[in-house]
């Protein structure tokens, strides 16, 4: 980026352009040279780079599809384990069998009463 690296330009802005790959080859060479000679500048660049990574990680992790964020659906409850589902099915079968047996028994008794 030819606008940067001119006399009077804030050095931090130049460092930003270097970090964001927005500077020209000449400015990049000057920045490389300055970074090797100035440990404080190199430290600042490292801090900025680290903060950039933290920023990206923080917000990339929380990005959700639109529907998931605005959904009015009630939350889904905890999933049942396979054992719990099987027990519930067994109870339903037993209840149905008992109801059937009682109905058949009742019908048998009523039929006998009518016959007698």
């Amino acid at each position: 980026m030819s606008d940067f690296g001119k006399p009077g330009q804030a050095p931090d802005a130049d460092l930003c352009a270097y970090l964001d790959d927005e500077c020209g080859p000449g400015q990049r060479r000057r920045a490389d040279s300055a970074l090797t000679q100035d440990p404080a500048l190199a430290r600042k660049l490292a801090v900025w780079r680290r903060n950039d990574s933290t920023l990206r990680a923080a917000f990339s992790a929380q990005t959700q599809p639109a529907r998931a964020q605005n959904s009015t659906d009630p939350p889904i409850g905890p999933l049942e384990s396979g054992g719990a589902q099987k027990r519930r099915m067994d109870l339903a079968i037993a209840a149905a069998f008992l109801a059937g047996a009682l109905s058949a028994g009742g019908a048998f008794v009523v039929a006998n009463l009518i016959a007698n």
């Binding site: 940067f4 927005e22 920023l55 605005n70």
Partner: protein
């Protein structure tokens, strides 16, 4: 002749980033939805009228959200200046609560972002989080490229001031040092 792209593709590609940006500047869920729709609508209508490319539409859509955020921040600032002494007290209390030591680096980062001036926050998020070039971010915000770099530098320095002291502290500072007694 600029290549045209279909609206669906355009929306699908842009929407996740627009949503992330709107959340990161500090909009709540309702504001995020409105801002994203506004950005997409503006980019779509320009595309329909004058055939813009994806790269031209991107800063347009981000610009709508960024400007909405700047207007919103200015309105909040003006309201804060007009507030009564009683609400000043509650604002101070809220600030104290936020300023308590945050539990994680991400939380410190959020607080650091909130402490930045709105324009610096917008530039930082457009370039670092959304990957816009200086030209695109400048176009989105209606500023020059040099100003964009200066704002970025100020934002990065401000964020570093917020984050670095906490990093420099050892995790067990303030606790008594244990040593092995033989």
């Amino acid at each position: 002749m600029a290549a045209r792209i279909s609206s669906d593709t355009f929306d699908d590609q842009l929407e996740p980033g627009l949503r992330r940006f709107a959340q990161a500047v500090g909009f709540d869920a309702g504001q995020v939805a409105c801002a994203v729709e506004g950005g997409l609508h503006r980019a779509r209508s320009l595309q329909g009228a004058g055939a813009i490319t994806r790269e031209e539409g991107r800063p347009v859509a981000y610009g709508v959200i960024a400007r909405a955020f700047l207007v919103h921040a200015a309105a909040l600032h003006a309201a804060a200046r007009r507030q009564t002494p009683a609400s000043c007290k509650s604002a101070r209390l809220a600030a104290v609560t936020v300023d308590q030591p945050p539990s994680s680096e991400v939380e410190r980062l959020r607080i650091g972002l909130t402490s930045l001036p709105p324009l610096e926050r917008a530039v930082l998020l457009l370039v670092v989080l959304e990957g816009l070039s200086y030209s695109q971010a400048s176009s989105a915000l209606g500023i020059g490229r040099v100003e964009c770099a200066q704002l970025l530098a100020a934002a990065r320095s401000g964020l570093a001031l917020r984050l670095e002291p906490a990093r420099a502290r050892p995790p067990d500072s303030g606790r008594p040092q244990l040593r092995l007694v033989t």
